[in-house]
């Protein structure tokens, strides 16, 4: 066990964990930030997506010991005061079905829109194809990203 310093959603934490523990389990089980979901554990589904210094990463495949000073942002961190515009668009389009994948979808979409305020279908496909939704909410995700882009 080592004591590891982490910055999550603008807060400093010190956690005791093995350095190879994926950030996903540190978030969920130590920090109880359970909005970040476990879907595959192999970087294949995107359910665990968080931001590392603003970049979307798969927290299931990111050892906590490798994070260093980089800042982690989770679904809980993108809407401290009020809903993020992407979340508002998700509500307006009634995107979720079971909802399980949606934290990861939203984290990927937030990163996409920050880098590309007006993504076309191709850009949406490129940014979002790492995120699986088994319920099949893709058409609404696409629409919600477009309406979030319009409403900025």
């Amino acid at each position: 066990m080592s004591v590891i310093q982490l910055s999550v959603n603008g807060e400093r934490f010190s956690v005791e964990a093995e350095a190879d523990t994926p950030v996903l389990w540190v978030l969920r089980d130590i920090l109880h930030l359970t909005g970040t979901r476990f879907g595959c554990g192999q970087g294949l589904c995107g359910a665990c997506t968080v931001h590392l210094d603003g970049m979307p990463v798969r927290s299931c495949s990111l050892p906590v010991g490798s994070v260093g000073n980089k800042k982690i942002t989770t679904i809980e961190g993108i809407s401290a005061e009020s809903l993020h515009p992407v979340q508002e668009a998700w509500i307006a389009e009634q995107v979720p079905q079971c909802g399980y994948c949606q934290s990861g979808q939203i984290m990927s979409a937030v990163a996409l829109l920050r880098d590309n305020p007006n993504p076309d279908d191709e850009a949406i496909d490129a940014a979002m194809q790492g995120n699986i939704c088994r319920c099949g909410t893709y058409q609404r995700i696409r629409q919600a990203i477009k309406s979030a882009a319009e409403n900025r």
């Binding site: 807060e11 934490f13 523990t21 476990f38 595959c40 554990g41 509500i91 009634q94 079971c98 995120n131």
Partner: protein
């Protein structure tokens, strides 16, 4: 210290994620601590799933509190199909309050709610009348209370927006003010139901109150539950039908955090499977410990390859007539008299459910109590099974029903919870059991494959006069309960032939059993309808060609006597522009099916991209599920069915080698992703018929509509799923 590997020092923060009435407090607990939980440590924010309504109860579903307002219990577990809103909404409609003005709570598993099972697209179909009655009864009681208070006849009162009003005045009493008195009044037996013209919320798009929680990460899935003193478990499992021969756990025990190694049995319907659980103070340690286990298994006697199973299905299909399940007229005579006949075989493979939320559960066994937190489709069955296992009164077993991160039939089973209970009983601590994705794909029960043999005969006028559809494959009646009587084959095995859309004077649906024990099988979104419709609707297209008819015309002439089916097909023909030719390089196909009492038709458009790969561009759908309660949710379910049906049609199947599932995760069991998703245009038939379900019925016709389109594009018939588009 409870949660194992952590001590956290950090500033206290409190954050409200309270939206649309789902106020959840996220933060550090700084109040009094249990002895195990030192001050300042983050602890359970939601000690469990909150399933206790507060206030005066007007029956099990409706509770009213003067301050907290109306609480409605959502008793049908929600796996994404929308029952969290759609079922309570029916109560709210009759009660006279906006569904967004009530608190909706997920009911625990309890017989007082009546059947709680979700499956077979049955919730709306079966709950429509009972839930109206629940709402109307509560309304009558509240009106009775108001009438008594005002000393006027009940007829002079009406409900609106959560209050009872005096007709012709603006005097009102809120439900909260009336609840205590209402609860003392005699319950009316047949309270009047609203007329459809009075519906305020049914048929409108009501925002789903679970969405704010689902987009902020605060929706409560079972995996989010944390209990003081809880340990984590991961299980290495024997191949289906195998057993433990020898365990060497020395290395596993040496992994920091590992607390116990527990051999466990897991009852899966009629089977019992074995495994070895690694229990640790944190999940990562449990996984590492599991990797370090050395286990020797006694190999199962039967070790199937999926190819062998499919070959068995084929040999039955071509060699045996099968049990007759549905018969009309005399097919043999009609074939002899037919002008032209066709005899073909279609194949659909094993499939996994692969819900995004892998199987998981939290269990806590007390001296004389047990609590289970789980997303499960049949919580009452689990309650009973757990009580039997623990030798406890079922009343002492609490099954808290979490949201399910997808279910699709897999979460109708109790095996995951029973496995966790066996572990918890052994280690005497609350246990969180999480299956890995690999476990979920390789150890879960599967959708059975089927091979469908179809024979058709058409007369000189091109009319289908004789049709036989024989299904050969594993039986869920046999696979789950060990039941098979060739004289009395259950209709679901030949689903959806029991709801055949076409009038064919001579018709026979038959079935041949293929035993796949010990491979476990289970319901999968539309189950047999998903595999059987593929053969059926592809065959209908092949017959249309043989008859020299347009696929729409050929189908529609066989439904001419049914105005509902005809209207749906006319609508589909119109919205898809079926009669307008497509540009060069594009093609379309149609298929339609009725299953679970709802009808769905799709027109699928395909094209080739620059690399020669075939792309599914667009799907037009029309569905008829009676009165549309939540149109937006109906469309969502159709979208989901298209995406899942298309994935099953074009992505690699589940295969078995030496009795084990070969595929393990989304790299070799890929599911549909956003860039592969066609544009979907969905239409709902408007009518006032009894509402029926829509979680499944739009899935079965997708694969055959695609295959029929591919034939037009490529000239090649596709008679086996999955198809290859590259």
């Amino acid at each position: 210290m409870t949660s194992s590997f952590s001590t956290i020092q950090r500033r206290t923060f409190l954050k409200q994620a309270g939206m649309a009435g789902s106020a959840l407090i996220i933060g550090v607990y700084t109040g009094s601590c249990t002895p195990e939980e030192p001050e300042g440590q983050i602890r359970a924010f939601r000690p469990g799933i909150d399933d206790l309504p507060e206030g005066v109860s007007l029956g099990p579903f409706v509770t009213i509190d003067p301050e907290k307002g109306v609480t409605l219990m959502a008793h049908r577990p929600d796996m994404g199909q929308g029952t969290f809103l759609s079922v309570p909404l029916i109560i709210a409609e009759e009660l006279g309050i906006h569904p967004n003005q009530v608190n909706i709570k997920k009911a625990p598993g309890d017989a007082k709610y009546g059947s709680q099972g979700v499956g077979g697209s049955a919730s709306i179909r079966s709950m429509w009348e009972p839930m109206r009655k629940v709402g109307a009864t509560a309304r009558a009681l509240l009106i009775g209370a108001a009438a008594q208070k005002w000393n006027i006849p009940a007829e002079e009162c009406y409900v609106k927006a959560g209050s009872v009003w005096k007709r012709g005045s603006d005097e009102k009493l809120t439900f909260g003010e009336l609840a205590a008195l209402a609860a003392t009044l005699p319950v009316p037996e047949n309270p009047p139901l609203k007329d459809a013209s009075e519906f305020e919320f049914i048929g409108k798009n009501i925002p789903n109150p679970s969405n704010p929680a689902k987009i902020t990460g605060t929706a409560d899935f079972a995996m989010d539950v944390h209990r003081p003193g809880m340990v984590y478990a991961s299980v290495e499992r024997a191949p289906f039908g195998g057993s433990i021969k020898r365990i060497d756990d020395r290395e596993a025990r040496a992994v920091p955090g590992v607390e116990a190694i527990v051999p466990v049995k897991r009852p899966v319907d009629k089977h019992t499977f074995e495994g070895v659980a690694v229990v640790a103070s944190n999940y990562w340690a449990a996984l590492k410990g599991r990797k370090a286990l050395q286990i020797e298994w006694n190999e199962p006697e039967v070790k199937y390859d999926s190819e062998t199973i499919l070959a068995l299905c084929h040999s039955k299909a071509t060699g045996e007539a099968g049990s007759s399940v549905i018969t009309a007229g005399n097919t043999a005579q009609a074939f002899a008299a037919a002008d032209k006949t066709l005899d073909l075989v279609y194949e659909a493979p094993f499939a996994a459910h692969a819900a995004m939320e892998p199987q998981n559960v939290v269990v806590e066994i007390g001296d004389d109590t047990c609590e289970i937190w789980i997303g499960n489709q049949f919580p009452q069955g689990l309650r009973k099974e757990a009580a039997d296992f623990l030798e406890m009164d079922p009343e002492k077993v609490q099954v808290h029903v979490a949201f399910m991160g997808g279910g699709f039939g897999r979460k109708s089973q109790t095996d995951v919870a029973m496995e966790a209970l066996a572990i918890a009983k052994n280690v005497n601590k609350p246990v969180k059991l999480i299956w890995t994705r690999e476990d979920d794909i390789q150890q879960s029960s599967l959708r059975p494959p089927t091979v469908n043999r179809l024979k058709g005969g058409i007369d000189a006028a091109g009319k289908l006069i004789s049709l036989e559809h024989v299904v050969s494959g594993p039986s869920l009646a046999y696979g789950l309960w060990g039941m098979h009587n060739p004289e009395r084959v259950p209709g679901f095995l030949v689903e959806p032939m029991g709801e055949h859309l076409y009038e064919v004077p001579n018709f026979r649906a038959g079935y041949n059993l293929v035993d796949v024990d010990p491979v476990p099988i289970i319901w999968w979104r539309s189950v047999y309808a998903s595999t059987n419709t593929f053969g059926h609707e592809c065959f209908i297209d092949e017959l249309a060609e043989l008859a020299g008819k347009d696929p729409f015309d050929f189908r529609m002439q066989m439904m001419a006597n049914n105005p509902r089916y005809t209207a749906l097909m006319e609508k589909l023909r119109e919205v898809s522009g079926w009669d307008n030719p497509l540009p060069e390089g594009k093609a379309r196909g149609v298929a339609v099916a009725k299953s679970f009492e709802s009808t769905a038709g799709h027109v699928v458009e395909v094209t080739r991209d620059a690399t020669g790969k075939i792309v599914v561009e667009k799907v037009y759908s029309v569905v008829d599920c009676g009165l549309a309660i939540q149109p937006n949710n109906i469309k969502a379910q159709v979208e989901g069915s298209i995406v899942m049906g298309l994935g099953a049609a074009i992505k690699p199947a589940i295969t078995l080698k030496d009795g084990k599932v070969v595929e393990s995760n989304f790299h070799n069991y890929p599911v549909l992703r956003i860039h592969e998703t066609p544009v979907m245009e969905i239409h709902i038939m408007e009518n006032d018929e009894h509402p029926t379900g829509i979680g499944e019925p739009a899935l079965p016709p997708l694969a055959p509509a695609l295959a029929n389109a591919l034939y037009v594009l490529t000239g090649e018939r596709q008679r086996k799923l999955p198809v290859d588009l590259s």
